[in-house]
């Protein structure tokens, strides 16, 4: 039961981290940047990580700048802790293969950077923009999926936390808390289907923020320059 209790706290903590690093903050200007630009930024960071150790450090720096310059410094703490989870796992599992702490550390920096950059991408992505674009591309049917996912995931995580709190209060096994969350989600999907069916037509509207688009474009330019210089030098 004590291990169960620890595991339960861990799952609750991880859910809270996901909520805080992706969902809790409402909409803001920095989420009004074209998704293609956000994707390009992520790709340049991936390329930098793959280039060299210096590239990795530049990518890490670029990711940190993304959080800071785009008004998400508050999220950085939670995203960093979340990104550390796969990082620590990689560090430990890579040691027997590399047999070198330095080499393992290098891999670790890469994994951390990529995780953080991916979290930044997910944080700044706006599901309303995805729905808006899908609607314009005549993909009306599927345009509801990104928005519903962004709406439902934190809702479910919140319920998971409640169910686990109750399971520990009742001193029952962790899996019982997880099982009732699954049952609840099944009920939710039925309710969502019913409620969404009889609602009006979905016509997403969206706008772009020039200021934040310009900041993101600058970050992309810096990364592209770094890629060019690194390729030139090495």
């Amino acid at each position: 039961m004590r291990i169960g209790g620890k595991l339960s706290s861990l799952v609750k903590y991880a859910s809270e981290l996901i909520i805080r690093s992706l969902f809790i903050y409402g909409d803001m200007e920095s989420r009004h940047v074209p998704v293609i630009l956000n994707l390009t930024l992520l790709l340049t960071q991936v390329v930098l990580v793959n280039l060299s150790a210096v590239g990795s450090l530049i990518a890490l720096f670029s990711t940190l700048l993304t959080y800071v310059f785009r008004g998400a410094s508050k999220v950085l703490k939670y995203a960093s802790i979340l990104a550390s989870i796969p990082t620590i796992w990689y560090f430990i599992t890579s040691l027997p293969f590399t047999l070198s702490v330095v080499k393992s550390l290098a891999i670790t920096v890469n994994v951390f950077t990529l995780s953080l950059a991916t979290l930044a991408f997910l944080y700044f992505i706006n599901p309303i923009e995805l729905a808006y674009l899908m609607n314009r591309l005549k993909l009306k049917e599927v345009s509801l999926y990104p928005v519903l996912t962004w709406k439902a995931v934190p809702h479910i995580l919140k319920d998971l936390k409640t169910a686990l709190t109750i399971a520990s209060m009742k001193n029952v096994e962790l899996w019982r808390g997880l099982a009732i969350t699954v049952v609840t989600v099944e009920e939710y999907s039925q309710f969502y289907e019913e409620a969404q069916h009889a609602k009006g037509v979905f016509q997403p509207k969206y706008w772009y923020s020039w200021r934040d688009t310009a900041i993101t474009a600058c970050l992309v330019m810096i990364n592209l320059t770094a890629i060019y210089l690194l390729k030139l030098c090495f």
Partner: protein, 416 residues
């Protein structure tokens, strides 16, 4: 929007749920349908808007003028559980994507009318239950549809917010919108609706069934348990509750004292912080570890550890499980899955389980939401019974009927 139903009948899994209903509605009219849980009210609404048979399997028959298809196209149905009606992650996007509003300033204005304007950019999942209900109502009433089907639209609202919503329905009738409203509380709608019906066993009747007066009588007879010596004292102190994305704390320097066997009601307007406080107290209690306590959330399903009532109570106290089932009127349901229980049954089962587990303190969120008067009476009686056996209760609710069993009332508005 004018329509007429004659002999309108709905069957689900072969069972007759709506039985030969006759109903007509003209443009700008509103009817209210009350009635006990399980009478078929929601099924009627769902079949008018097409959820049945398009999403939920069932058969619909009878005469519909102009046509059933026309009804499907002209109606919007606000689900009993407003969370599921909300589609998008942000408040602004929800309103702009599903209504005729074109500009953010228009959205801001309508939100303002429902005291939601400061939530324009918020994530919808962080809204309180009453805030979600108001947002869902805005969407339902500002779409292009002319027939608006509202399933318990005031369940999560405090009195002033409910009155504001009801007044709005009256205004919209003037613009030609028609309404069918399902609600347990008839009196609050009398000024607005053109006709009141009761649904009993799938049939619509005009006279108030005896069931109602019996339930209200029973509710009125409830009173708080007599105060006894305080055998155990529970003290909670909360320095501050602040959300990471909020500028101001929700609550500061809050202190609560509960005695064993006492029912403490935390009340206040929608969005004041009742649920948040209750969850914070429950978490504090878990961390403290000295008090044997449990939380029954507003969705009671999340409370259960067993898949059936019998299993839930066996896990708690195998010797006495059948006695508890009997005491809480659940004997006939002992082996059906908990998901198949009605909301009232789920709440009673959670209470039975809390009693069987011998908790010293139970935190309960909105225990009477969505219950008809008789089920509400049964739940309140259940709480009182458990309290009389020595369990303390901290209950968060806006429902005035809880005052009937509360030994102490804390108005959170005084703490803001």
């Amino acid at each position: 929007m004018t329509f007429e139903l004659n002999g309108f009948t709905v069957r689900l899994d072969g069972a007759l749920i709506v039985n030969e209903v006759d109903l007509s509605l003209s443009r700008g009219e509103a009817v209210l349908i009350a009635g006990p849980s399980g009478a078929g009210k929601s099924t009627l609404l769902k079949s008018l808007c097409g959820v049945i048979p398009k999403v939920v399997r069932g058969s619909v028959s009878g005469f519909v003028k102009p046509s059933l298809d026309f009804l499907h196209r002209s109606s919007i149905y606000l689900h009993q559980e407003p969370w599921f009606f909300i589609t998008t992650p942000y408040v602004w996007s929800e309103v702009l994507s599903f209504t005729d509003f074109k500009r953010l300033s228009d959205v801001q204005e309508v939100l303002n009318h429902f005291k939601l304007s400061r939530h324009l950019m918020r994530s919808t999942y962080t809204l309180s239950a009453g805030e979600v209900q108001r947002l869902a109502f805005i969407i339902a009433t500002h779409s292009s549809k002319d027939l608006i089907l509202l399933d318990e639209p005031t369940a999560y609202l405090d009195r002033p917010n409910a009155d504001n919503l009801i007044k709005y329905v009256k205004e919209l009738k003037g613009f030609g919108k028609s309404f069918i409203i399902v609600d347990h509380d008839v009196s609050v709608w009398l000024d607005v609706v053109d006709k009141v019906y009761y649904m009993v066993d799938g049939k619509l009747v005009e006279d108030e069934p005896e069931y109602y007066s019996k339930a209200y009588e029973a509710l009125n007879d409830l009173d708080p348990s007599e105060s006894r010596d305080c055998l155990k004292h529970f003290i909670f102190e909360v320095d501050e509750i602040k959300f990471p994305d909020a500028e101001e704390p929700l609550l500061k320097d809050f202190k609560l004292e509960v005695c064993s066997g006492e029912v403490v009601l935390i009340k206040g307007y929608s969005g004041v912080g009742k649920t948040t406080l209750l969850k914070t107290l429950a978490e504090k209690s878990v961390k403290d570890g000295r008090i044997k306590s449990v939380l029954i959330p507003d969705n009671p399903l999340l409370y259960f550890s067993g898949s059936t009532p019998a299993e839930e109570l066996n896990l708690a106290n195998p010797q006495l499980s059948s006695k508890f089932l009997q005491d809480f009127g659940l004997s006939s349901k002992s082996n059906i899955p908990v998901v198949k229980l009605s909301t009232g049954e789920r709440r009673r089962l959670a209470l039975a389980s809390a009693l069987a587990r011998g908790y010293e303190l139970v935190f309960m969120d909105e225990p009477t939401i969505g219950l008809d008067p008789w089920n509400k009476y049964l739940v309140l009686k259940g709480i009182k019974k458990v309290a009389e056996l020595g369990t303390g209760f901290v209950i968060a609710s806006h429902d005035e009927d809880l005052l009937k069993i509360a030994n102490e009332v804390i108005n959170l508005e005084d703490w803001r």
